[in-house]
Amino acid sequence: MRIPCPLCGDRPLEEFTYRGDATLTRPAADAPMEAWVDYVYLRDNPKGPHREHWRHAQGCGSWLVVDRNTVTHEITQAIQARPGGEVQR
């Protein structure tokens, strides 16, 4: 698998670390306990498209939002997670 890092270009899987679902939002400080449990523990395990966080750990260090198909491993988009980093190479 290769991931197109927006800063470094196509790089092999070995350079990246995986975190998981990128669609989660950290709850507000006063959110109920259930919201925190969902945020930390509950994950969907979709077959197909998945938006997820990867870090180019052995490269530029960027956290990326990667749209990956969990069946085919096709990657349709990889952008920097930080705002302003959406420019796709």
Binding site: R2, L13, R19, A29, M33, R55, G61, W63, A81, R82
Partner: protein
Amino acid sequence: MTRQTHRLNGTGRRLDRSKPISFTFDGKRYGGFEGDTLASALLANGVRLVARSFKYHRPRGIFTCDPHEPSALVQLRSGARQEPNIPATMVELYDGLEAASQNRWPSLRYDLLSVNQLFSPFFAAGFYYKTFKWPAKFWTGLYEPVIRRAAGMGRLSGSIDPDTYEKIHHHCDILVIGGGAAGISAARAAAQSGARVTLIEEHARLGGFDGTGLEQDIAELEALVNVRIMPRTMVFGWYDNNTFGAVEQVSDHLPVPAAHQPRQRIWKIVAPQVILATGAHERSLIFGNNDRPGVMLASAAERYLRDYGVRPGSRAVIFTTNDTTAGLAKALGAAGVTVAAVADARNGDEIETVHGRTAVTGVTLRQRDGSRRTVDCDAVCVSGGWNPAVQLLAQRGQKPRWSDGLQAFLPQEMAGAEFLCTGSLAGLEDREDCQAHGRMAGEVAAQRFAAPDSADLASYHSYLEANEARAASFAYFETSAGKSKKFIDLQNDVTAGDVSLATREGYRSVEHVKRYTTLGMATDQGKTSNIHGIAAMSKALDKPMDQVGTTGFRPPYRPVSLGALAGRSRGKHWRPILRTPLHGWVEDKGGVFIESGLWHRSQYFPKPGETMSQAISREVQAVRSAVGFCDVSTLGKIDLQGPDAAAFLDRVYSNGFAKLPVGKSRYGLMLREDGIVMDDGTVSRLAEDHYFITTTSAESESVISHLEYCHQVLWPELDVAFADAGEDWAGTALAGPRAREVLARIAPELDVSNAALPFLAARECTILDGVPARLFRISFSGELAYEIYVPSPYGRPLAEALEREGADFGITPYGVEALDVLRIEKGHVSSELNKFTTAADLGLGMMMSKKKDFIGRALSSRPGLTDPDREVVVGLKPLDPSHSFRQGAHITARGAPLAPENDDGYITSSAWSPTLESHIAIALVRRGQERLGEVVEIIDPLHGEDPVPATIVSHHFYDPENARVRS
């Protein structure tokens, strides 16, 4: 040396007869020629029996001319280069080659374990599952040793492999896998566009099954500068993004690798377009005793005749279902071999059974009318048709499609966005078809490489469709009668009876039958045999072939040696070593190193005649009574800057940092979002918007990654920037009552008084005549102490200066063992941060700020993490100070029976304390802080040790008032 009784004059296009070669098999000397394989040379010498089978120890010969040879597996070479389970068909002969048969005892001809044949009912399908279930003790005591001995294949030398292996990356525009007629044409056509083409071929030479007449094409291809040809290279895996794994046998055809050459090389190849021209494997037929030495695939017999000048015998019988054996009959005749009979299944003729034990002596033929006749012969050449080599496609998840016309499993898709199929893989049989379609594939690949989606594949597809529509292959797999054993899988000794038994016992899925019978699970992966297992299931279950289907295929296509996969990552190169800037100095001082993660850290500094524990105690006592220093360069270091740096720290640490003044350090605790402690360290404020952070050595990488996540993903609005400064700074801890006096000497410009540089002071300063330094009055040991950081190149000069300037005060270098004893005496947590503990568990509950949100705050208030019954940090002292206990030992109330429900916790750190003159420990004990003073039992049944009574005490064994660090 024996005479090459089966060598022909005239044929043998691979041989250089001017170069005779001598080799040994089972210690006996034979002759061959350059160009021979071990298999062809053995056949030339009339050697029939070359192996014993895996399960029944049946005599076996050479069955194929291919890498997936199921029978003739041999052990090669001797000494440290000894290598088992090598197909004789793949071994290129060299002078002096040593080979030996396997799986026989005491000799190949008189193999005593062939009595296994008499017990064959015992070895039927599923015998492992049925026989060895119970009693359990019989397994380790009886079954396993016997089976290991009986089923052992070859043996490894047990010595270190003296050869090297390496890995290399390769990028090309178009990859062609398979150097037969189709692959050659495809590569030529693709290369005409100017694209960079790489052609990979498993064998030593291009040409495929029959290279006759392709010499000119090959020469022209080799002359092209944009074509790279890689012979002796096998593509074993096809991975995401058209990435391929291949192994090149660089030196296996040589006695020893040439200077500076590896034995094998792993290639990681990336190509936007791939053309699969992987060919087809001839399949056998299923008849009685079809495994006897002398039974051989027809294509193999033809290749031995044509390429190696070897005749398979004097009288041959051909058993076939197709026209590809027509050439063989002619070639046999031309070589003077009598074709005693041709049993063509299409005419209703078949071989019922083979006669002979260690070699074929004849066959019983069963004719269309049911009559039988016996024919004397010494060779049986068999062809059951061809299996397209779909394995690589199947690795990508393609389920092969059964073609009734071709009577074979074909690729489900003949083309995808990044791949094309051609040649016999695509069901083509004639060379002209392979060449014509190979050209089309090459042209399409070149167009696609130039402009994706531009190519028109209409004629590419219609060519294959027309070919399949024309095909009318004959459906035939197994002889209809006879009582002898009929082998499907020669390498794993799986018979037609085993498959039928499995279906009678209720197995319906091809995957289950495979595992139950071990069909196709040997190193050849059933390339000649799987189809017959599927056919047998199809017959037994009365289901069409495509509904039975094939099993899945995973990499590797063929076995890959572990040496090649390891590459250079062996010995001291198996993982990187991290050395601190003080490493060389520690070496010079005779320090002992200990591996800690990737780091080599100084463990202790023994004096002559000192034991390890003596040295550690001396180092501890020096720090407690005078002064010592220790390399702490392995700590993670992060430089954090920006106007929002304080706000950022407040969110990632559980305790507050906004009010930390400039010039001060503070201990910090970092939680995971689930409320468990992640790491601890110190944060020092060097300027209003500038902080220097240390992390533990073990967690430095994960803390950086975590902070980057917090910054880039969670709170990008915070204006901070940070850099991993771990390698920039060398660090030493200077500790002991006389540390201030040493510091004064190395930092003469600095006011080191307690008033000017109090506990937790942080300074940027210069030491040693102008070396920039960061100085923090932080103590891990419990003594007056400083952490001194200098740019890495100054690490060694700093150590030398400390040693020199501290000599008057009795300065002593200490290692991580003494460091650990000091912190256990002091009661600082370290190994207690074990990813199970909360701040409260560690006695650090007061570090959980109530005034702000921070990572881990919300979930740390969960009932499970605030349960008063939790195990919390305490100290332990044995009643008898000489009683020791180990990390991991458990704690029970006195008199409580040994039972899991009475487990009250465990020891996380333990040491001999020279200061307290007692063994001591830090432990996590249930409700421990409520139990101070209670005597408990320390139990360690794992090490068979007697319970040790110990008192629960505060873990702050030493200077609980914290007076010394402030002195």
